[in-house]
Symmetry: C2
């Protein structure tokens, strides 16, 4: 048996332990503020070992970030492009799935957004949200439903209502339990509000 390779019910591989630790520390403190020593300690291993598995802090970070971006987009993409779903269903699905994702990863949006802000060039190629949105069935459906509304404005509002509470969590919701309860309620609220918005003008 040459290498470690599992992660079924068994103990996590060293590599997995490092990734998990890196995930935690990076998302909490951001790239620049995390020290590889912190990650090593969190993973319960040695600093040298971290450089053995991943060649550098940078490489490790990019791995984590790619994973996070994947998480974020894999929720949106299938929904907005599913032409089988009505506009109302899309809105409901978006609010519900996104909030579920974010309840499990509250620091995700702030982490991703602030790293992009800190290093925009590094993401220029990897992210073209406008392109993705441009041709989505979601845009068409909004135009169809209410031609007076600029679809982008509506989508930004929908995303804002959904994501913002998590971005501002630390400031607005000191109590974790209350926060979770509010976010659960919020799924239906956002859907209802978004639909009301579509009827304006």
């Amino acid at each position: 048996m040459a290498k470690q390779k599992r992660s079924k019910a068994e103990d996590p591989t060293t590599e997995e332990k490092i990734i998990e630790a890196a995930c935690k520390v990076f998302t909490q403190k951001g790239y620049a503020a995390t020290r590889t020593r912190d990650i090593a300690e969190e993973a319960g291993i040695n600093l040298a070992l971290l450089n053995y598995y991943f060649r550098s802090k940078e490489k490790l970070f990019q791995m984590i970030m790619a994973e996070k971006l994947q998480q974020l987009f894999s929720v949106i993409f299938p929904i907005i492009n599913n032409s089988q779903l009505t506009l109302d269903k899309k809105i409901e699905a978006l609010a519900e799935n996104y909030i579920d994702l974010l309840i499990g990863n509250p620091e995700l949006p702030l982490f991703v957004l602030s790293e992009i802000q800190a290093n925009p060039e590094g993401f220029k190629d990897k992210i073209q949200v406008q392109k993705i949105l441009k041709d989505s069935s979601l845009i068409l459906q909004i135009r169809e439903r209410n031609p007076d509304i600029e679809p982008v404005q509506f989508i930004v509002s929908l995303l804002g209502m959904t994501i913002f509470p998590f971005v501002a969590k630390q400031v607005l919701f000191p109590n974790e339990k209350i926060f979770r309860a509010l976010m659960e309620d919020r799924k239906k609220l956002i859907a209802a509000w978004a639909k009301a918005m579509l009827k304006t003008k």
Copy 2:
């Protein structure tokens, strides 16, 4: 003439130059990623001089951050507590004033929020938004208007619609000119949408 002290129509003081530079670099890259050398260079002065005026990177940062927090709150506070204003007027004023502020300082929210995330303890005392909101006339007016709506949920939506586009600017709006135009339109949109939301259920 003992010290430099002006900043009328004249050239900025060295101290002012440093603050301005620090402002720019800190908000762009975040505390951990900025090097005092960058600030010095941006200010067109020497590294040693920076430590002469402000004792340390930390001190300089706290100064900037206090200023930024001040900026953010000084817009909200007078509006939500002005019992002279009707609910509708409050909503309009909030959207309009906040967007105007943020057009002038697009990186402000992401900067503040991510620094708080990176170092929550440092802000525990300085920020109690819940307390400020709790007793505001805004909350009362929302309850009065529509008892079925949880005021906090509504306010978070209002703030989300307003602030989120700036938080996600880098990702969603590569074109600066289009962005500004959208944000100008958005003032009225948010007000209209928020009012529609208040009629639901």
